[in-house]
Symmetry: C2
Subunit: 290 residues, 2 copies
Protein backbone atom coordinates (compact mmCIF):
# COMPACT_ATOMS: atom_id res chain seq x y z
CA UNK A 1 0.00 0.00 0.00
CA UNK A 2 1.38 3.37 -0.93
CA UNK A 3 -0.31 5.69 1.56
CA UNK A 4 -1.36 5.69 5.19
CA UNK A 5 -2.91 8.40 7.35
CA UNK A 6 -0.81 9.50 10.33
CA UNK A 7 -2.37 12.04 12.67
CA UNK A 8 -4.74 13.30 10.03
CA UNK A 9 -2.15 13.59 7.27
CA UNK A 10 -1.97 11.36 4.23
CA UNK A 11 1.69 10.27 4.06
CA UNK A 12 3.66 7.79 2.03
CA UNK A 13 3.85 4.46 3.83
CA UNK A 14 7.67 4.56 3.83
CA UNK A 15 7.56 7.87 5.73
CA UNK A 16 5.00 6.74 8.30
CA UNK A 17 7.12 6.65 11.42
CA UNK A 18 6.49 7.55 15.01
CA UNK A 19 8.87 8.48 17.77
CA UNK A 20 9.84 5.69 20.16
CA UNK A 21 8.32 7.53 23.14
CA UNK A 22 4.83 6.59 21.94
CA UNK A 23 2.87 4.83 24.68
CA UNK A 24 1.30 2.38 22.22
CA UNK A 25 4.78 1.08 21.48
CA UNK A 26 6.27 1.25 24.96
CA UNK A 27 3.27 0.24 27.12
CA UNK A 28 0.85 -1.41 24.70
CA UNK A 29 -1.58 1.44 25.29
CA UNK A 30 -3.84 1.80 22.28
CA UNK A 31 -7.38 1.45 20.97
CA UNK A 32 -7.77 -0.62 17.82
CA UNK A 33 -10.29 -0.99 15.04
CA UNK A 34 -10.49 -2.97 11.85
CA UNK A 35 -12.94 -3.13 8.98
CA UNK A 36 -13.14 -4.40 5.46
CA UNK A 37 -13.24 -2.47 2.22
CA UNK A 38 -15.22 -4.21 -0.51
CA UNK A 39 -15.38 -2.75 -4.03
CA UNK A 40 -14.12 0.50 -2.52
CA UNK A 41 -16.84 0.60 0.18
CA UNK A 42 -15.81 0.63 3.87
CA UNK A 43 -18.21 -1.99 5.20
CA UNK A 44 -20.30 -0.94 8.23
CA UNK A 45 -17.99 2.05 8.74
CA UNK A 46 -20.57 3.83 10.96
CA UNK A 47 -20.56 0.91 13.43
CA UNK A 48 -16.78 0.63 13.36
CA UNK A 49 -16.20 4.32 14.01
CA UNK A 50 -18.75 4.14 16.87
CA UNK A 51 -16.86 1.26 18.41
CA UNK A 52 -13.49 2.95 17.85
CA UNK A 53 -14.73 5.93 19.83
CA UNK A 54 -16.10 3.64 22.55
CA UNK A 55 -12.86 1.64 22.76
CA UNK A 56 -10.85 4.84 22.98
CA UNK A 57 -13.10 6.14 25.74
CA UNK A 58 -12.77 2.82 27.60
CA UNK A 59 -9.04 3.45 27.91
CA UNK A 60 -9.56 7.15 28.65
CA UNK A 61 -8.36 8.42 25.29
CA UNK A 62 -10.29 10.95 23.28
CA UNK A 63 -10.17 10.70 19.50
CA UNK A 64 -8.79 14.13 18.56
CA UNK A 65 -10.85 14.29 15.35
CA UNK A 66 -14.55 14.62 14.63
CA UNK A 67 -16.52 11.75 13.17
CA UNK A 68 -16.73 13.59 9.84
CA UNK A 69 -12.94 14.03 9.83
CA UNK A 70 -12.33 10.34 10.64
CA UNK A 71 -14.66 9.24 7.86
CA UNK A 72 -12.97 11.71 5.52
CA UNK A 73 -9.53 10.27 6.34
CA UNK A 74 -10.79 6.77 5.60
CA UNK A 75 -12.36 7.72 2.27
CA UNK A 76 -9.30 9.73 1.26
CA UNK A 77 -7.12 6.69 2.08
CA UNK A 78 -9.34 4.39 0.02
CA UNK A 79 -9.11 6.80 -2.91
CA UNK A 80 -5.36 7.45 -2.63
CA UNK A 81 -4.56 3.71 -2.59
CA UNK A 82 -7.37 2.89 -5.01
CA UNK A 83 -8.48 0.20 -2.56
CA UNK A 84 -11.02 -2.26 -3.94
CA UNK A 85 -10.76 -5.23 -1.58
CA UNK A 86 -8.64 -4.72 1.51
CA UNK A 87 -8.72 -4.14 5.24
CA UNK A 88 -8.23 -0.89 7.14
CA UNK A 89 -6.90 -0.71 10.70
CA UNK A 90 -7.21 2.27 13.00
CA UNK A 91 -5.00 2.67 16.06
CA UNK A 92 -5.22 5.45 18.62
CA UNK A 93 -2.25 5.29 20.99
CA UNK A 94 -1.53 6.95 24.33
CA UNK A 95 0.76 9.33 22.43
CA UNK A 96 4.22 10.59 23.23
CA UNK A 97 4.95 10.31 26.94
CA UNK A 98 7.87 11.85 28.78
CA UNK A 99 7.77 9.41 31.71
CA UNK A 100 6.75 6.55 29.38
CA UNK A 101 3.69 5.91 31.54
CA UNK A 102 1.38 8.93 31.54
CA UNK A 103 -0.65 9.28 28.33
CA UNK A 104 -0.05 12.38 26.21
CA UNK A 105 -1.82 13.66 23.09
CA UNK A 106 -2.94 10.53 21.18
CA UNK A 107 -1.36 9.45 17.92
CA UNK A 108 -3.75 8.21 15.24
CA UNK A 109 -2.78 5.66 12.61
CA UNK A 110 -5.13 4.67 9.78
CA UNK A 111 -3.49 2.05 7.60
CA UNK A 112 -4.73 -0.29 4.90
CA UNK A 113 -3.64 -3.92 4.89
CA UNK A 114 -3.87 -6.51 2.16
CA UNK A 115 -6.47 -9.20 2.83
CA UNK A 116 -6.49 -12.71 1.55
CA UNK A 117 -9.94 -13.85 0.49
CA UNK A 118 -11.09 -16.96 2.33
CA UNK A 119 -11.70 -19.85 -0.09
CA UNK A 120 -15.47 -20.45 -0.52
CA UNK A 121 -14.86 -24.11 0.36
CA UNK A 122 -14.19 -23.10 3.97
CA UNK A 123 -17.78 -21.90 4.25
CA UNK A 124 -19.03 -25.25 2.97
CA UNK A 125 -16.69 -27.46 4.99
CA UNK A 126 -16.20 -25.35 8.09
CA UNK A 127 -12.95 -24.70 9.96
CA UNK A 128 -11.17 -25.99 13.03
CA UNK A 129 -10.69 -23.83 16.12
CA UNK A 130 -8.59 -24.48 19.20
CA UNK A 131 -9.28 -23.31 22.76
CA UNK A 132 -7.05 -21.47 25.22
CA UNK A 133 -7.51 -20.19 28.74
CA UNK A 134 -7.29 -16.43 28.59
CA UNK A 135 -9.34 -13.31 29.16
CA UNK A 136 -8.68 -10.14 27.21
CA UNK A 137 -7.92 -7.04 29.25
CA UNK A 138 -10.93 -4.68 29.18
CA UNK A 139 -12.95 -7.14 27.05
CA UNK A 140 -15.59 -4.59 26.00
CA UNK A 141 -12.93 -2.53 24.23
CA UNK A 142 -10.95 -3.39 21.12
CA UNK A 143 -7.34 -2.57 21.98
CA UNK A 144 -3.88 -3.36 20.67
CA UNK A 145 -3.46 -5.97 23.47
CA UNK A 146 -2.90 -8.99 21.21
CA UNK A 147 0.10 -10.50 23.02
CA UNK A 148 -1.52 -13.89 23.64
CA UNK A 149 -3.16 -13.98 20.20
CA UNK A 150 0.11 -13.28 18.35
CA UNK A 151 2.00 -15.77 20.53
CA UNK A 152 -0.60 -18.46 19.72
CA UNK A 153 -0.15 -17.87 15.95
CA UNK A 154 2.39 -20.68 15.43
CA UNK A 155 0.28 -23.14 17.52
CA UNK A 156 -2.78 -22.33 15.40
CA UNK A 157 -0.78 -22.93 12.26
CA UNK A 158 0.67 -26.21 13.58
CA UNK A 159 -2.80 -27.49 14.49
CA UNK A 160 -4.42 -26.29 11.26
CA UNK A 161 -6.77 -24.03 13.23
CA UNK A 162 -8.44 -20.90 11.87
CA UNK A 163 -8.96 -19.30 15.28
CA UNK A 164 -8.37 -19.57 19.02
CA UNK A 165 -11.39 -19.49 21.34
CA UNK A 166 -10.80 -18.06 24.82
CA UNK A 167 -12.33 -19.45 28.02
CA UNK A 168 -11.66 -19.10 31.74
CA UNK A 169 -11.51 -22.81 32.47
CA UNK A 170 -15.30 -23.05 32.39
CA UNK A 171 -17.00 -20.16 30.62
CA UNK A 172 -16.38 -19.41 26.95
CA UNK A 173 -16.10 -15.77 25.94
CA UNK A 174 -14.85 -15.00 22.45
CA UNK A 175 -12.21 -15.71 19.85
CA UNK A 176 -8.81 -14.00 19.67
CA UNK A 177 -10.02 -12.12 16.60
CA UNK A 178 -13.67 -13.13 16.36
CA UNK A 179 -16.94 -13.58 18.21
CA UNK A 180 -18.75 -16.91 18.37
CA UNK A 181 -22.04 -18.62 18.92
CA UNK A 182 -23.55 -22.08 18.65
CA UNK A 183 -26.84 -23.77 17.80
CA UNK A 184 -28.32 -26.47 20.02
CA UNK A 185 -31.77 -27.97 19.45
CA UNK A 186 -32.60 -25.17 17.03
CA UNK A 187 -31.69 -22.32 19.40
CA UNK A 188 -28.75 -19.97 18.78
CA UNK A 189 -26.72 -19.22 21.93
CA UNK A 190 -24.14 -16.44 22.19
CA UNK A 191 -22.43 -14.56 25.03
CA UNK A 192 -24.32 -11.79 26.77
CA UNK A 193 -21.52 -9.64 28.17
CA UNK A 194 -17.82 -9.56 28.99
CA UNK A 195 -16.99 -9.75 25.28
CA UNK A 196 -16.18 -7.34 22.49
CA UNK A 197 -19.30 -5.99 20.77
CA UNK A 198 -18.44 -7.59 17.43
CA UNK A 199 -19.85 -5.63 14.50
CA UNK A 200 -20.29 -8.72 12.31
CA UNK A 201 -21.82 -10.48 15.31
CA UNK A 202 -24.38 -7.72 15.83
CA UNK A 203 -25.42 -7.75 12.16
CA UNK A 204 -25.44 -11.55 12.01
CA UNK A 205 -27.55 -11.91 15.16
CA UNK A 206 -30.11 -9.49 13.76
CA UNK A 207 -30.38 -11.77 10.70
CA UNK A 208 -30.37 -14.90 12.87
CA UNK A 209 -33.46 -13.69 14.71
CA UNK A 210 -35.39 -14.16 11.44
CA UNK A 211 -34.16 -17.77 11.28
CA UNK A 212 -34.30 -19.14 14.85
CA UNK A 213 -34.66 -18.21 18.53
CA UNK A 214 -31.56 -16.38 19.84
CA UNK A 215 -30.41 -16.53 23.47
CA UNK A 216 -27.86 -14.12 24.89
CA UNK A 217 -26.31 -15.81 27.92
CA UNK A 218 -23.09 -17.15 29.39
CA UNK A 219 -22.18 -20.65 28.14
CA UNK A 220 -19.57 -23.23 29.04
CA UNK A 221 -16.88 -25.07 27.14
CA UNK A 222 -18.82 -28.31 27.68
CA UNK A 223 -21.91 -26.76 26.08
CA UNK A 224 -19.80 -25.62 23.13
CA UNK A 225 -18.33 -29.11 22.67
CA UNK A 226 -21.88 -30.56 22.76
CA UNK A 227 -23.35 -28.04 20.28
CA UNK A 228 -25.07 -29.12 17.06
CA UNK A 229 -23.55 -26.27 15.06
CA UNK A 230 -20.90 -23.64 15.84
CA UNK A 231 -19.81 -20.47 14.05
CA UNK A 232 -17.42 -17.57 14.45
CA UNK A 233 -17.95 -14.05 13.17
CA UNK A 234 -15.44 -11.37 12.21
CA UNK A 235 -15.05 -8.54 9.74
CA UNK A 236 -12.72 -10.56 7.52
CA UNK A 237 -14.58 -13.87 7.72
CA UNK A 238 -18.19 -12.81 7.97
CA UNK A 239 -20.05 -15.78 9.47
CA UNK A 240 -17.81 -18.85 9.26
CA UNK A 241 -18.94 -22.37 10.25
CA UNK A 242 -16.80 -24.28 12.77
CA UNK A 243 -16.80 -28.05 12.38
CA UNK A 244 -13.97 -28.99 14.72
CA UNK A 245 -13.04 -27.74 18.20
CA UNK A 246 -9.67 -28.98 19.45
CA UNK A 247 -9.80 -32.71 18.69
CA UNK A 248 -13.58 -33.02 18.64
CA UNK A 249 -16.06 -32.85 15.81
CA UNK A 250 -18.93 -30.39 16.08
CA UNK A 251 -22.09 -32.48 15.63
CA UNK A 252 -21.36 -34.93 12.79
CA UNK A 253 -18.49 -32.77 11.52
CA UNK A 254 -20.55 -31.27 8.70
CA UNK A 255 -21.78 -27.70 8.40
CA UNK A 256 -25.37 -27.71 9.68
CA UNK A 257 -28.47 -26.12 8.11
CA UNK A 258 -28.91 -23.25 10.59
CA UNK A 259 -25.36 -21.93 10.35
CA UNK A 260 -25.39 -22.53 6.62
CA UNK A 261 -28.50 -20.34 6.31
CA UNK A 262 -26.86 -17.68 8.48
CA UNK A 263 -23.69 -17.68 6.35
CA UNK A 264 -25.79 -17.03 3.24
CA UNK A 265 -28.00 -14.43 4.90
CA UNK A 266 -24.96 -12.50 6.09
CA UNK A 267 -23.23 -12.64 2.70
CA UNK A 268 -26.37 -11.28 1.08
CA UNK A 269 -26.61 -8.58 3.74
CA UNK A 270 -23.04 -7.42 3.03
CA UNK A 271 -23.65 -7.52 -0.72
CA UNK A 272 -26.73 -5.39 -0.27
CA UNK A 273 -24.80 -2.92 1.93
CA UNK A 274 -21.95 -2.63 -0.57
CA UNK A 275 -24.29 -2.20 -3.55
CA UNK A 276 -26.30 0.45 -1.71
CA UNK A 277 -23.20 2.38 -0.61
CA UNK A 278 -21.11 2.02 -3.75
CA UNK A 279 -23.29 4.54 -5.58
CA UNK A 280 -23.27 7.01 -2.66
CA UNK A 281 -19.56 6.60 -2.04
CA UNK A 282 -18.69 7.20 -5.65
CA UNK A 283 -20.62 10.50 -5.58
CA UNK A 284 -18.81 11.40 -2.30
CA UNK A 285 -15.54 10.55 -3.92
CA UNK A 286 -16.17 12.69 -7.00
CA UNK A 287 -17.41 15.62 -4.91
CA UNK A 288 -14.33 15.52 -2.70
CA UNK A 289 -11.67 14.97 -5.32
CA UNK A 290 -12.51 18.13 -7.27
Amino acid sequence: MEYVNLNGQLVRDADAKIHISDLGLRRGYGAFEFFRVLRGVPVFIEDHLDRFENSSRAIDLEVPYSRAELEGFVRELIRANNLQSAGIQLVLTGGYSEDIFTPGHPNLIIAPIALREYPPALYQQGVKVITHRHEREIPEAKTTAYLTAVKLGPRMKAEGAAEVIYHDGKWVTEGARSSLGFVKDGVLVTAKDGVLPGITRIHALRLAEQLMPVEHRAFTLDELYAADEVFITSSTRGVMPVTRIDDRLVGNGQVGPKVSALVKAFQAHVEEYVARHAAVDSRWSIANSQ
Copy 2:
Protein backbone atom coordinates in the same frame (compact mmCIF):
# COMPACT_ATOMS: atom_id res chain seq x y z
CA MET B 1 18.09 12.66 27.20
CA GLU B 2 20.05 13.26 24.06
CA TYR B 3 20.73 9.75 22.80
CA VAL B 4 18.97 6.41 22.59
CA ASN B 5 20.02 3.13 21.04
CA LEU B 6 17.82 1.90 18.20
CA ASN B 7 18.65 -1.50 16.72
CA GLY B 8 22.23 -1.33 17.91
CA GLN B 9 22.86 2.21 16.72
CA LEU B 10 23.32 5.20 18.98
CA VAL B 11 21.00 7.85 17.55
CA ARG B 12 19.77 11.26 18.66
CA ASP B 13 16.53 10.95 20.57
CA ALA B 14 14.74 13.25 18.10
CA ASP B 15 15.63 10.86 15.27
CA ALA B 16 14.57 7.70 17.11
CA LYS B 17 11.53 6.70 15.09
CA ILE B 18 10.14 3.40 13.98
CA HIS B 19 7.82 2.54 11.14
CA ILE B 20 4.15 2.14 12.04
CA SER B 21 4.15 -1.50 10.89
CA ASP B 22 6.01 -2.47 14.07
CA LEU B 23 4.19 -5.23 15.96
CA GLY B 24 4.99 -3.69 19.34
CA LEU B 25 2.99 -0.66 18.30
CA ARG B 26 0.19 -2.38 16.41
CA ARG B 27 -0.32 -5.53 18.53
CA GLY B 28 1.35 -4.75 21.84
CA TYR B 29 3.90 -7.47 21.11
CA GLY B 30 7.11 -6.72 22.96
CA ALA B 31 9.43 -7.80 25.76
CA PHE B 32 10.32 -5.13 28.30
CA GLU B 33 13.08 -4.50 30.80
CA PHE B 34 13.95 -1.70 33.17
CA PHE B 35 16.85 -1.03 35.49
CA ARG B 36 18.39 1.82 37.41
CA VAL B 37 21.63 3.62 36.80
CA LEU B 38 23.26 4.92 40.00
CA ARG B 39 26.42 7.03 39.83
CA GLY B 40 26.83 5.77 36.28
CA VAL B 41 26.53 2.10 37.26
CA PRO B 42 23.74 -0.03 35.70
CA VAL B 43 22.48 -1.76 38.85
CA PHE B 44 22.24 -5.58 38.65
CA ILE B 45 22.62 -5.38 34.87
CA GLU B 46 23.56 -9.08 34.63
CA ASP B 47 20.24 -10.10 36.19
CA HIS B 48 18.26 -7.66 34.06
CA LEU B 49 19.83 -8.82 30.80
CA ASP B 50 19.18 -12.44 31.85
CA ARG B 51 15.54 -11.64 32.44
CA PHE B 52 15.27 -9.62 29.21
CA GLU B 53 16.46 -12.68 27.28
CA ASN B 54 14.02 -14.90 29.21
CA SER B 55 11.09 -12.53 28.62
CA SER B 56 11.93 -12.34 24.92
CA ARG B 57 12.08 -16.13 24.72
CA ALA B 58 8.74 -16.39 26.54
CA ILE B 59 7.12 -14.52 23.64
CA ASP B 60 9.17 -16.41 21.06
CA LEU B 61 11.45 -13.53 20.14
CA GLU B 62 15.19 -13.92 19.96
CA VAL B 63 17.34 -10.96 20.97
CA PRO B 64 19.37 -10.36 17.79
CA TYR B 65 22.49 -9.29 19.71
CA SER B 66 24.94 -11.11 21.96
CA ARG B 67 25.05 -10.44 25.69
CA ALA B 68 28.34 -8.59 25.24
CA GLU B 69 26.78 -6.40 22.54
CA LEU B 70 23.74 -5.60 24.70
CA GLU B 71 25.94 -4.67 27.63
CA GLY B 72 28.10 -2.58 25.33
CA PHE B 73 25.02 -0.69 24.03
CA VAL B 74 23.96 0.05 27.61
CA ARG B 75 27.39 1.31 28.67
CA GLU B 76 27.77 3.38 25.51
CA LEU B 77 24.34 4.94 26.21
CA ILE B 78 25.30 5.76 29.80
CA ARG B 79 28.50 7.40 28.57
CA ALA B 80 26.89 9.30 25.67
CA ASN B 81 24.20 10.79 27.93
CA ASN B 82 26.58 11.09 30.88
CA LEU B 83 23.95 9.33 32.99
CA GLN B 84 24.54 9.47 36.72
CA SER B 85 21.12 8.73 38.21
CA ALA B 86 18.47 7.57 35.75
CA GLY B 87 16.52 4.60 34.50
CA ILE B 88 17.07 2.59 31.32
CA GLN B 89 14.32 0.71 29.50
CA LEU B 90 14.83 -2.01 26.94
CA VAL B 91 12.08 -3.04 24.53
CA LEU B 92 12.29 -5.84 21.99
CA THR B 93 9.28 -5.75 19.68
CA GLY B 94 7.84 -8.24 17.22
CA GLY B 95 9.36 -6.09 14.47
CA TYR B 96 7.95 -4.91 11.18
CA SER B 97 5.12 -7.15 10.04
CA GLU B 98 3.48 -7.17 6.63
CA ASP B 99 0.22 -8.72 7.80
CA ILE B 100 0.40 -6.82 11.13
CA PHE B 101 0.17 -10.12 12.99
CA THR B 102 3.12 -12.37 12.20
CA PRO B 103 6.34 -11.31 13.98
CA GLY B 104 9.25 -10.21 11.79
CA HIS B 105 12.84 -9.34 12.70
CA PRO B 106 12.67 -7.75 16.18
CA ASN B 107 13.29 -4.06 16.78
CA LEU B 108 15.38 -3.20 19.84
CA ILE B 109 15.00 0.05 21.74
CA ILE B 110 17.31 0.98 24.61
CA ALA B 111 16.29 4.33 26.06
CA PRO B 112 17.14 6.23 29.23
CA ILE B 113 14.42 7.90 31.24
CA ALA B 114 14.64 10.52 33.96
CA LEU B 115 13.86 9.14 37.42
CA ARG B 116 12.54 11.06 40.37
CA GLU B 117 14.18 10.02 43.61
CA TYR B 118 11.68 8.83 46.18
CA PRO B 119 11.73 11.05 49.30
CA PRO B 120 13.46 9.23 52.21
CA ALA B 121 10.39 9.97 54.35
CA LEU B 122 8.42 7.42 52.30
CA TYR B 123 10.72 4.68 53.59
CA GLN B 124 10.07 5.78 57.18
CA GLN B 125 6.32 6.33 56.86
CA GLY B 126 5.43 3.75 54.26
CA VAL B 127 3.09 4.17 51.29
CA LYS B 128 -0.50 3.34 50.41
CA VAL B 129 -1.34 0.74 47.77
CA ILE B 130 -4.69 -0.09 46.19
CA THR B 131 -5.87 -3.47 44.90
CA HIS B 132 -7.36 -4.44 41.57
CA ARG B 133 -8.57 -7.68 40.06
CA HIS B 134 -6.28 -8.47 37.16
CA GLU B 135 -3.74 -11.01 35.99
CA ARG B 136 -0.90 -10.04 33.69
CA GLU B 137 -0.65 -11.95 30.43
CA ILE B 138 2.29 -14.38 30.56
CA PRO B 139 3.11 -13.34 34.16
CA GLU B 140 6.59 -14.88 34.18
CA ALA B 141 7.68 -12.50 31.41
CA LYS B 142 8.11 -8.75 31.55
CA THR B 143 6.34 -7.43 28.47
CA THR B 144 4.98 -4.12 27.21
CA ALA B 145 1.44 -5.22 28.22
CA TYR B 146 0.74 -2.37 30.67
CA LEU B 147 -2.76 -1.48 29.47
CA THR B 148 -4.44 -1.99 32.85
CA ALA B 149 -1.55 -0.40 34.76
CA VAL B 150 -1.56 2.77 32.65
CA LYS B 151 -5.35 2.99 32.79
CA LEU B 152 -5.22 2.76 36.60
CA GLY B 153 -2.73 5.67 36.79
CA PRO B 154 -5.35 8.37 37.41
CA ARG B 155 -7.13 6.21 40.05
CA MET B 156 -3.81 5.68 41.87
CA LYS B 157 -3.19 9.40 41.82
CA ALA B 158 -6.72 10.21 43.04
CA GLU B 159 -6.38 7.77 45.92
CA GLY B 160 -2.84 8.84 46.82
CA ALA B 161 -1.56 5.34 46.15
CA ALA B 162 2.00 4.46 45.20
CA GLU B 163 1.12 1.18 43.52
CA VAL B 164 -1.69 -1.17 42.45
CA ILE B 165 -1.62 -4.76 43.72
CA TYR B 166 -3.22 -7.38 41.47
CA HIS B 167 -5.32 -10.29 42.71
CA ASP B 168 -7.75 -12.74 41.12
CA GLY B 169 -10.55 -12.17 43.62
CA LYS B 170 -8.81 -14.37 46.18
CA TRP B 171 -5.11 -14.88 45.52
CA VAL B 172 -2.67 -11.99 45.44
CA THR B 173 0.05 -12.07 42.82
CA GLU B 174 2.11 -8.93 42.29
CA GLY B 175 2.02 -5.19 41.78
CA ALA B 176 1.51 -3.46 38.43
CA ARG B 177 5.18 -2.43 38.53
CA SER B 178 6.48 -4.20 41.63
CA SER B 179 6.64 -7.46 43.56
CA LEU B 180 5.39 -7.76 47.12
CA GLY B 181 5.59 -9.72 50.34
CA PHE B 182 4.39 -9.47 53.91
CA VAL B 183 5.49 -10.38 57.43
CA LYS B 184 3.16 -12.19 59.82
CA ASP B 185 4.29 -13.47 63.22
CA GLY B 186 7.91 -12.94 62.24
CA VAL B 187 7.72 -14.94 58.98
CA LEU B 188 8.12 -13.33 55.56
CA VAL B 189 5.62 -14.64 52.97
CA THR B 190 5.90 -14.02 49.23
CA ALA B 191 4.42 -15.59 46.09
CA LYS B 192 5.95 -18.80 44.80
CA ASP B 193 5.03 -18.72 41.13
CA GLY B 194 2.78 -17.10 38.55
CA VAL B 195 4.58 -13.78 39.05
CA LEU B 196 7.40 -11.89 37.42
CA PRO B 197 10.81 -12.90 38.77
CA GLY B 198 11.51 -9.44 40.22
CA ILE B 199 15.23 -8.67 40.36
CA THR B 200 14.93 -6.46 43.45
CA ARG B 201 12.71 -9.14 45.00
CA ILE B 202 15.32 -11.85 44.43
CA HIS B 203 18.11 -9.75 45.97
CA ALA B 204 15.89 -8.60 48.86
CA LEU B 205 14.73 -12.14 49.69
CA ARG B 206 18.32 -13.31 49.82
CA LEU B 207 18.98 -10.59 52.41
CA ALA B 208 15.70 -11.33 54.22
CA GLU B 209 16.79 -14.91 54.81
CA GLN B 210 19.48 -13.52 57.15
CA LEU B 211 16.78 -11.67 59.11
CA MET B 212 13.78 -14.02 59.35
CA PRO B 213 12.23 -17.23 57.99
CA VAL B 214 11.01 -16.82 54.38
CA GLU B 215 8.09 -18.78 52.93
CA HIS B 216 7.42 -18.93 49.19
CA ARG B 217 3.75 -19.77 48.77
CA ALA B 218 0.45 -18.52 47.39
CA PHE B 219 -1.33 -16.09 49.71
CA THR B 220 -4.75 -14.43 49.78
CA LEU B 221 -5.99 -10.87 49.92
CA ASP B 222 -7.36 -11.57 53.41
CA GLU B 223 -3.93 -12.69 54.58
CA LEU B 224 -2.40 -9.54 53.11
CA TYR B 225 -4.94 -7.33 54.90
CA ALA B 226 -4.17 -9.16 58.18
CA ALA B 227 -0.37 -8.92 57.81
CA ASP B 228 1.82 -7.27 60.48
CA GLU B 229 4.07 -5.64 57.86
CA VAL B 230 3.91 -5.34 54.07
CA PHE B 231 6.43 -4.22 51.46
CA ILE B 232 6.80 -3.86 47.72
CA THR B 233 10.01 -4.20 45.73
CA SER B 234 11.02 -2.68 42.41
CA SER B 235 14.12 -1.39 40.66
CA THR B 236 13.13 2.23 41.22
CA ARG B 237 11.89 1.86 44.81
CA GLY B 238 14.13 -0.83 46.22
CA VAL B 239 12.27 -2.26 49.23
CA MET B 240 9.44 0.11 50.16
CA PRO B 241 7.22 -0.35 53.23
CA VAL B 242 3.45 -0.38 52.72
CA THR B 243 1.38 0.95 55.63
CA ARG B 244 -2.03 1.20 54.00
CA ILE B 245 -3.89 -1.17 51.63
CA ASP B 246 -7.07 0.30 50.15
CA ASP B 247 -8.80 1.83 53.20
CA ARG B 248 -7.13 -0.36 55.81
CA LEU B 249 -4.03 0.17 57.88
CA VAL B 250 -1.32 -2.46 57.79
CA GLY B 251 -0.77 -3.47 61.44
CA ASN B 252 -0.84 -0.26 63.47
CA GLY B 253 -0.13 1.85 60.38
CA GLN B 254 3.56 2.29 61.22
CA VAL B 255 6.51 0.76 59.40
CA GLY B 256 7.43 -2.37 61.36
CA PRO B 257 10.88 -3.55 62.49
CA LYS B 258 11.31 -6.45 60.05
CA VAL B 259 10.54 -4.47 56.90
CA SER B 260 12.54 -1.55 58.25
CA ALA B 261 15.57 -3.81 58.65
CA LEU B 262 15.03 -5.16 55.12
CA VAL B 263 14.83 -1.64 53.65
CA LYS B 264 18.20 -0.79 55.22
CA ALA B 265 19.83 -4.09 54.30
CA PHE B 266 18.77 -3.64 50.66
CA GLN B 267 19.97 -0.03 50.49
CA ALA B 268 23.36 -1.12 51.86
CA HIS B 269 23.45 -3.99 49.35
CA VAL B 270 22.86 -1.61 46.43
CA GLU B 271 25.45 0.85 47.77
CA GLU B 272 27.96 -1.96 48.01
CA TYR B 273 27.15 -3.09 44.44
CA VAL B 274 27.51 0.41 43.04
CA ALA B 275 30.77 1.08 44.90
CA ARG B 276 32.20 -2.25 43.75
CA HIS B 277 31.20 -1.69 40.12
CA ALA B 278 31.94 2.02 39.83
CA ALA B 279 35.66 1.34 39.76
CA VAL B 280 35.34 -1.49 37.23
CA ASP B 281 32.90 0.43 35.04
CA SER B 282 35.10 3.49 34.91
CA ARG B 283 37.99 1.32 33.66
CA TRP B 284 35.63 -0.25 31.09
CA SER B 285 34.52 3.19 30.04
CA ILE B 286 38.06 4.50 29.57
CA ALA B 287 39.14 1.38 27.67
CA ASN B 288 36.16 1.63 25.31
CA SER B 289 36.20 5.35 24.66
CA GLN B 290 39.69 5.36 23.23
